[in-house]
């Protein structure tokens, strides 16, 4: 792909997300070069009709309520049960026809037939470039309301519910850009025709990859392995492979930054309590300058305030940084920049699970929702992530894991096993050019 330039000057697609959690927007942000840096947010774009805004607002409120419910013990489970049924992902085996539409999907189509998304379609069809939607509803709306250009959809989890695929999946012209092999197979069970499915990998930020040869990843990973493998156990076992992949200089680590852990909450701000527990557990190590904690509050000022208050309570004055912006694009930019010298990403297994492909080991907090359970399984299968232990004693087990070389191994597994170049493959597809990137195997 050396001859393929990925610095796209003029927009060649409309990239469309939804402001609902971070997953849809994070994927869109990575693809923003395709649309000249502009991401159209279907529930919050200039000129959105009041009725559309209202419908989306209701959907978003439901989403956030669900996310918070997940973290409420017992009561959350009981209240969540009927909703869980709606978003259920059926068992994969035995392979069978799963194309029958479910309640959530029928409900979405009802809203679209009532006009949801029509204004957006009419707005975009003035310049009928291909659309890339990171949420299924805008993609359905494009089809129902007759958008003239190509319609692409990027599912944002490792396995998805039936609601990601149109009512009449076999006849639909929506094309899917799949993050992993299981997802592709799942969409086929939902009835999507094979020629509409493209296995690309999840779109990750190009600024963290560095082209086909992953020059940025190599640089970042080398420094990361230094922090994650202080006893060189991992290096000792994989010296030849590491040298071959990262260059001969990788045979000796060079420390460039203090051990850094980034804890990220989701868009609903649920699980902020985990961040507090991390701070409590790491307080002494922070004071001794042994670790840096980055707390990602996203766009939520309430979460930021909560963390600031916690720092005061614990009298922690050093070693903690925040990632926060009222503006989503600015938040993603900050977040991505911070990942360069982050050694461990601690998050629920959301779309961030895919970030292990950047050579990041992931410590998973409890999954919220069935799709995150699938992400967790995928992450474990890939070997890029592990479930958190008791957060109250993180100051012990994280350092045990590091001392054993286990987190260095997770970083490596993520890089080797998970697809890294999703964004580049998607760009090649949209530009209609043959990619010189390796074809991804259909990893389960």
């Amino acid at each position: 792909m050396a001859e393929h330039r990925h610095s796209i000057k003029t927009p060649i697609a409309h990239v469309i997300d939804v402001d609902m959690g971070y997953g849809h927007s994070r994927a869109a942000y990575a693809l923003k070069d395709l649309s000249g840096g502009v991401v159209t947010t279907s529930n919050n774009y200039p000129g959105i009709p009041a009725s559309d805004r209202k419908t989306w607002k209701e959907m978003r409120e439901l989403y956030e309520a669900m996310s918070r419910l997940h973290t409420t013990p017992i009561v959350g489970g009981i209240l969540f049960a009927p909703i869980a049924k709606i978003e259920e992902i059926p068992k994969f085996y035995p392979r069978r026809d799963l194309s029958k539409a479910n309640f959530a999907l029928r409900q979405a189509y009802r809203m679209i037939h009532n006009g949801l998304g029509k204004h957006l379609v009419r707005t975009l069809e003035v310049n009928p470039l291909p659309v890339i939607c990171t949420h299924p509803v805008p993609a359905f709306a494009m089809e129902v309301h007759g958008y003239p250009g190509d319609i692409w959809c990027v599912p944002t989890d490792a396995d998805v519910a039936r609601a990601w695929v149109p009512m009449d999946s076999k006849q639909s012209r929506i094309k899917y850009l799949c993050a992993n092999g299981r997802l592709m197979e799942r969409l086929a069970l939902y009835g999507v025709r094979e020629n509409q499915l493209h296995l690309t990998g999840f779109p990750l930020p190009k600024e963290l990859i560095g082209g086909e040869r992953s020059t940025v990843i190599r640089h970042d990973l080398l420094a990361r392995l230094c922090n994650l493998d202080p006893n060189e156990l991992f290096l000792d076992r994989h010296r030849k492979t590491i040298a071959a992949t990262l260059g001969a200089s990788a045979c000796s680590y060079r420390k460039s930054h203090i051990l850094t852990i980034l804890y990220a909450v989701g868009g609903a701000g649920a699980q902020r309590g985990v961040g507090r527990e991390i701070l409590k557990s790491m307080a002494m190590r922070l004071k001794r300058g042994e670790v840096k904690i980055r707390l990602s509050a996203g766009t939520r000022s309430d979460v930021l305030r909560y963390y600031q208050q916690t720092l005061k309570e614990l009298n922690i004055k050093h070693g903690v940084e925040f990632i926060f912006s009222h503006d989503r694009a600015e938040y993603f930019a900050q977040f991505n920049h911070a990942l360069h010298d982050t050694d461990i990403l601690w998050t629920k297994p959301s779309e961030l699970a895919f970030y292990t492909a950047l050579g990041l080991p992931i410590i998973m907090s409890n999954p919220l929702g069935v799709q995150e359970q699938f992400n967790a399984t995928w992450l474990k299968y890939v070997g890029g992530g592990v479930m958190q232990d008791d957060v109250r004693y993180a100051n012990e087990w994280i350092f045990d894991w590091i001392a054993s070389g286990g987190l260095a191994r997770a970083a490596w597994n993520g890089l080797v096993e998970a697809p890294t170049h999703g964004t580049y493959r998607i760009e090649d597809l949209l530009l209609g050019r043959e990619t010189s990137l390796v074809q991804l195997p259909s990893i389960v």
Binding site: R95, R392, E396, W397, R409, V444
Partner: protein, 448 residues
């Protein structure tokens, strides 16, 4: 370390196991060279006093009865939960003093004080060679009755309950061979002095390793990877590493053996039904000779008969002895010997995460049946941390997911992870320590 190839026909130690499940016996079998192949079974040796036999029998019967009850919904879980409570392994974090003896441990010592095991120790005292036992009670007996030789105890799980360490660990002379780093650390929390714990790794059969470096293992592993990576996905990603370690990263066209899965149930036979589920799901693939299934019933003829009957019902009678193997053995030694020999041409082991978890170090990927007991839950976590094993999916659809996993190269990766990450040379390290000779084998890192 050429001398590690030799077999010791002279007795250099008393190797002592118990006949209770296979875990303790399997570990002892791997280090039988130390005993000149003369393993003493503490609950079934010649001349065992009736009273001692009775003590042992009660414990064993309870264990096996409850293990058999386990698959029964509600009641089985309840009974097993109660038993498990006694054997509970407390959370590791935060690190703290866990030396306070458990109820079970105090009970064991009460029985020893009443004379349990005295006869065995007196008998061994006649030739006070080092004792290497794979069951903690025997070590306690030797310690309590003032055995003059060294007393070594081999741990047989990746994490262990308080009753593996003596009542007064700080004043005991028992030394431990820890199967992994977590075991070593755990023993320290239980109060065992650090200088009495050797991190050796679980003793694996030397026949399957081939010394240091592990030539037999490497040859077997390459053949296995070729079967487990039909699309070459794993090989393409790890070619450099594999070439460096095994000297080749290409599969010769001719297969050394058909794709083979060995299903191994525990001694209590609690999972025999699962074996039939597996056979049912794979029936078509067995008939097509796409896979060879070996159902190991150990020494339990009734389990083997059950498998054979089920195979016939499934129309697989003609495949028995070909693509479907259902061997049964007259005693444990014969079973271990044959099982180990068959591992040379086994590609996947399906087992509950018992002591068999450690076999991933031989480059064998493990598909885990549900764990029974808290120590097996720890084994399962360890196995996943190592990357050498994965919990089974729905056994009814194994014909789908197994081949999906194989086709993705994931099972080959597990084989490799096990080889690279899990300790292989436990038996050799144990021999070196017992024989008091300097080991050329690299020390193990403290992998959690």
């Amino acid at each position: 370390m050429a001398y590690h190839h030799q077999q010791h026909h002279r007795k250099m130690a008393h190797v002592i196991d118990v006949n209770m499940g296979y875990g303790h016996a399997r570990a002892a079998y791997a280090i039988r060279d130390l005993a000149g192949h003369d393993i003493v079974t503490a609950n079934d040796y010649r001349g065992i006093p009736t009273s001692d036999r009775k003590f042992w029998e009660e414990g064993r019967k309870i264990y096996e009865a409850i293990s058999r009850l386990k698959p029964i919904p509600i009641i089985g879980d309840l009974m097993f939960g109660i038993m498990d409570e006694f054997q509970e392994i407390p959370p590791f974090y935060p690190r703290r003093d866990l030396s306070k003896p458990s109820l079970q441990l105090r009970q064991v010592y009460r029985m020893i004080k009443k004379g349990w095991g005295k006869h065995l120790i007196e008998k061994l005292r006649e030739d006070p060679l080092p004792i290497v036992t794979t069951f903690f009670t025997v070590a306690f007996m030797a310690d309590y009755y003032g055995y003059p030789g060294e007393i070594y105890c081999v741990t047989t799980d990746t994490d262990i309950a308080r009753h593996w360490a003596p009542l007064d660990p700080k004043n005991s002379k028992i030394k431990y061979f820890a199967a992994n780093g977590r075991c070593k650390e755990r023993l320290q929390l239980y109060g065992v002095p650090e200088n009495q714990i050797f991190l050796t790794g679980f003793p694996l059969p030397k026949d399957l390793i081939g010394g240091y470096p592990e030539k037999v293992l490497q040859a077997d592993l390459m053949g296995r990877i070729c079967n487990l990576d039909p699309n070459g996905i794993f090989l393409s990603r790890y070619a450099k590493t594999i070439r460096a370690a095994l000297g080749a990263a290409k599969c010769v066209p001719k297969k050394t053996h058909p794709l083979t899965l060995s299903f191994s149930v525990g001694g209590a036979g609690a999972q025999r039904k699962l074996g039939v589920d597996v056979m049912t799901s794979l029936a078509h693939d067995i008939r097509q000779h796409r896979i060879r299934l070996a159902l190991f019933a150990g020494i339990r003829k009734n389990v083997a008969d059950y498998y054979i009957e089920s195979a016939k019902e499934l129309g697989l009678g003609k495949e028995i002895g070909k693509s479907l193997l259902i061997p049964v053995y007259k005693d444990r030694a014969e079973y271990f010997e044959a099982f180990n020999a068959f591992l040379h041409e086994t590609d996947i082991v399906m087992t509950k995460p018992s002591e068999m978890s450690f076999y991933t170090a031989l480059g064998v990927p493990i598909i885990m049946a549900p764990p029974i007991g808290s120590q097996e839950q720890f084994n399962a976590v360890w196995l996943q941390y190592i990357g050498g094993g994965v919990p089974m999916s729905d056994p009814r659809y194994m014909n789908e997911w197994l081949f999906d996993w194989i086709n993705s190269g994931g099972v080959a990766r597990m084989a490799w992870n096990g080889y690279v990450e899990a300790p292989t040379h436990g038996a050799y390290r144990i021999e070196d320590i017992v024989l008091g000779r300097k080991s050329e084998i690299h020390p193990l890192p403290l992998i959690v």
